[in-house]
Symmetry: C2
Subunit: 203 residues, 2 copies
């Protein structure tokens, strides 16, 4: 038997990971080995950033007490947000089973709090690019994630003694998925990619 | 001979791609097969986004004339930016050979202009997360990229007839690298990851 040489370009690993990943809101309590959590952070650490300033910092939360506090702060803000949110958002959220209740904040074995340094150039873009790296790395390791953006974030600086020039950009629960969300779908390439002018088809 | 079963978790593909990727500013004119450019966009298309609103649009630029116009607009703004930029930025830029001259804008075989829909929730984060996906996919295919953020972007709406609610977030040249940049280095994990409180070591 002749085994073909492995061609990673044909295997299309990144596309598989990107297509298979879902935003997961239910988690099992299964613990994550430290080497795996280090792996996803190691990947995020290597993201490019404006001026290579690496404006990201990560706080890992394992303890139930802290998770409950985080959930309390987030749900208070979410309740207010849902009272005022546009109807099309509420409709979309309901169709995905999303409400102001954020049980993933206490369910997931680890919360990764991602902070951005607001006085660095292009800090938001840099931080979210690193989050893109991180969630693909988690998918590669078989872990589910969610890129949760709290409506109110000021409490985080006080709770975790974070310098004021940093702001909480996202909370990423990570763990073994406790649900299999349906595919929410994506726009087709022809709807989002144009050739040299807005609206010109690229085929 | 017994061949070990392939274990993708041990291969650590994403980390290899993240570590090997460099921000590249010189490109060969080697053309990119259409299937490869579609691949990187297909990956970006599957990124998660706020409310699954997919606030990204991509305009591909192949023509030399348009590239020259883009470069002209960008360099005009860069010249002004460099006249007023903080000294530590200028020093860092000089150490990496970066100036207001943006030759990659006319050298790369394709420029990917990434636009964000500014009236969608969390549009900046969503767009940059998709850019993270895209540049890892390009690395997987063996192409170099740069996440270039122009200092002035208004010209792009006029030049490409882009609706005013969209804004140019980044220009990504993509192609075969014409240089091998040195490793600019990254902060260690211990410098950017804390355990449950700012400054608390995670080991």
């Amino acid at each position: 038997m002749i085994l073909p040489r492995l061609n990673f370009k044909i295997i299309m690993i990144i596309l598989r990971l990107a297509m298979n990943r879902r935003s997961v809101r239910r988690y099992l309590s299964t613990p994550i080995p430290k080497e795996d959590i280090k792996y996803v952070l190691e990947v995020a650490r290597h993201a490019p950033s404006g001026g290579n300033r690496q404006p990201w910092r990560f706080i890992l939360v394992y303890s139930d007490g802290l998770k409950r506090e985080i959930r309390k702060y987030c749900e208070e803000a979410e309740k207010r947000f849902y009272e005022r949110a546009p109807k099309d958002f509420i409709d979309w959220a309901r169709s995905r089973g999303i409400t102001w209740v954020k049980s993933f904040l206490t369910e997931a074995p680890i919360l990764i709090l991602v902070f951005g340094k607001t006085d660095e150039p292009y800090w938001i873009g840099s931080v979210w690019l690193a989050i893109g790296y991180l969630i693909l790395a988690a998918e590669e390791k078989g872990y589910a994630t969610l890129t949760y953006t709290p409506s109110n974030v000021k409490w985080a600086n006080k709770l975790f003694k974070v310098p004021e020039e940093y702001v909480l950009a996202a909370i990423i629960p990570i763990g073994v998925a406790g649900e299999k969300p349906s595919n929410p779908g994506r726009l087709e390439l022809s709807e989002i990619v144009y050739l040299e002018e807005w609206g010109e088809k690229f085929n």
